[in-house]
């Protein structure tokens, strides 16, 4: 028995030709999720959740900055030795990094392909001014805030992970605290960090809520909590991250 679950062919009553091409061959599970928008949104939600976990623990870890140079550098060293001696040095860290790279890649690829789909779905825009009722600033600027965060991520890596010369000329591998304080003491760099983290907060405000819908996590009993969670999470993460450049600039840290 070959049970194909394809929809029956279109009847002549359907006088509009399909707008989107559907893949002719279905991929095996779980790749099949990549073949529909609903599946891609599911992947976006899962990778988004993973990235949320990352930004959260990244910010929590960086709070060590407030405990001084020794603690902070010790923490940075600890990350390299995560799960040591079960795994060799830096292996756990690299596994996490690979996971993050994959999550970022899928999140961005899904966003790009769904954006194209949405542009195709309305090639001619409304000719009069739209009056939005529910769509808020955050939900309508996800693409922009996402791009800002993505570009910032590259800058941030160049600044404090790779130590690219023209961005962070004083960079020294292993001196995490000195690198951070040197970098954030420059007003221009601090401003970049602050602006990017505001964008991150806005992205999270919609993303952390939207995630529940895309995953189908919906129960009228706790639906109110989903909004509160997203708002709280966005404020918490953005707040922690924005506090670092401010603390360095004002001399609280450094």
């Amino acid at each position: 028995m070959t049970a194909t679950q394809e929809a029956p062919p279109l009847t002549p009553d359907i006088t509009v030709a399909p707008v989107m091409k559907r893949p002719s061959k279905r991929l095996p599970f779980p790749l099949v999720y990549w073949q529909t928008a609903v599946g891609k949104k599911w992947i976006m939600a899962l990778t988004g959740a993973a990235l949320m976990g990352f930004v959260f623990f990244h910010a929590i870890g960086n709070l060590k900055m407030y405990m001084g140079e020794e603690d902070f550098n010790h923490y940075a060293e600890f990350l390299r030795d995560l799960l040591y001696p079960i795994l060799p040095h830096t292996v756990a860290l690299w596994l996490l990094r690979i996971g993050l790279i994959v999550a970022f890649g899928l999140h961005i690829a899904a966003a790009a392909s769904l954006t194209r789909m949405n542009q195709k779905a309305r090639p001619v825009r409304y000719q009069s001014r739209r009056d939005y009722l529910a769509a808020n600033y955050a939900s309508r600027t996800m693409r922009v805030s996402g791009i800002i965060v993505g570009l910032f991520l590259l800058f941030h890596l160049a600044d404090l992970t790779w130590g690219v010369g023209f961005i962070n000329s004083e960079f020294e591998r292993g001196e995490a605290f000195a690198n951070v304080t040197y970098s954030l003491d420059r007003i221009g760099v601090a401003a970049i960090y602050i602006v990017a983290n505001i964008a991150l907060g806005i992205h999270l405000f919609h993303g952390a809520w939207s995630m529940f819908q895309s995953l189908g996590v919906n129960n009228p009993r706790y639906n109110g909590a989903r909004r509160a969670f997203a708002a709280g999470f966005a404020v918490l993460v953005a707040g922690m991250n924005i506090s670092f450049p401010i603390a360095v600039l004002t001399g609280v840290v450094g």
């Binding site: 028995m1 070959t2 049970a3 194909t4 679950q5 394809e6 929809a7 029956p8 279109l10 009847t11 009553d13 359907i14 006088t15 509009v16 399909p18 707008v19 989107m20 559907r22 279905r26 599970f29 779980p30 099949v32 999720y33 529909t36 928008a37 609903v38 599946g39 949104k41 599911w42 769904l114 949405n118 195709k120 779905a121 309305r122 090639p123 001619v124 825009r125 409304y126 000719q127 009069s128 001014r129 739209r130 009056d131 939005y132 009722l133 529910a134 769509a135 939900s139 309508r140 996800m142 919609h206 809520w209 939207s210 819908q213 895309s214 995953l215 189908g216 996590v217 919906n218 639906n223």
Partner: protein, 255 residues
């Protein structure tokens, strides 16, 4: 009251269109929006001009034939109201009202304010049915259905297929309509036999025509039947599950 209308006029599917301005004088507040347009049309006909083409049928908010973008809002400013049930008392004397057709690639404009919404039918055709036994009618209430489940299914079944959700969505996504049509069957015991097949078929048909949901929630605000985006979440969940369920079904000959 006296109003100024800016109405989208377009001769046919493949011609360009433009806004034209009309004066609507002596409009009474108890008139519906469509009655107001009828009056404007009568005057246009008297002047020997082409009346404004728009769709309507029941004019009591149950058929889903009407639907206009009024001042940038699908079905106009009143929540939970189809255009035919929108009354002129929601406007003030001297207002300028802009009227545009639904816009989506899947809803080509036929003429003026009329669009072809047959892709919505295509979604229902793909799976909006249940198998029923023929023969003697079964006893009523033979299948116990919890009241909240029946209520929820009924809420979904309230969809009149007007397409305002697509029109209001910044992505032209068909999620609210599809999830309503899907869930009023998926929630009930009678709909279980085809549940997973239906979910896959309707979602994949939807994606041949419409955009992808980014959870703005605009559809829920525009919907004249106030269908909740909760149904979209249920649909997403069922779709993800359907892929796993169907794999089991296909165990004896997975392509």
């Amino acid at each position: 009251m006296n109003l100024t209308l800016k109405v989208w006029r377009q001769d046919g599917p493949h011609t360009g269109g433009r806004f034209e301005t009309y004066q609507a004088a002596d409009i009474k507040d108890e008139m519906s929006f469509l009655e107001m347009l009828d009056i404007v049309n009568e005057r246009l006909i008297e002047d020997g001009r082409e009346p404004i083409a728009f769709d309507s049928d029941c004019r009591e908010g149950i058929c889903g034939t009407c639907g206009l973008m009024v001042n940038g809002q699908a079905h106009g400013p009143q929540k939970g109201t189809a255009t035919c049930q929108l009354h002129m008392r929601t406007f003030r004397d001297g207002d300028e009202i802009t009227i545009e057709p639904w816009r989506a690639a899947a809803f080509p404009i036929m003429k003026d304010l009329i669009v072809d919404r047959s892709p919505l039918d295509a979604i229902v055709e793909a799976g909006g049915y249940i198998n029923a036994n023929t023969g003697a009618a079964p006893d009523a209430n033979l299948i116990p259905i919890p009241k909240p489940v029946a209520d929820s299914s009924m809420d979904a079944a309230a969809c009149i297929g007007c397409g305002a959700c697509v029109a209001a969505c910044p992505n032209s996504a068909g999620q609210l309509f599809t999830s309503a049509k899907l869930n009023h069957l998926n929630l009930l015991p009678q709909g279980q036999a085809e549940r997973w097949k239906r979910t896959e078929a309707m979602v994949e048909r939807m994606e041949q025509f419409f955009g992808s949901c980014t959870n703005h929630g605009e559809c829920q605000e525009a919907c004249p039947k106030e269908i909740s985006i909760d149904f979209i979440a249920y649909m997403n969940r069922d779709y993800i599950k359907a892929k796993i369920k169907n794999r089991k079904l296909q165990g004896q000959g997975f392509p």
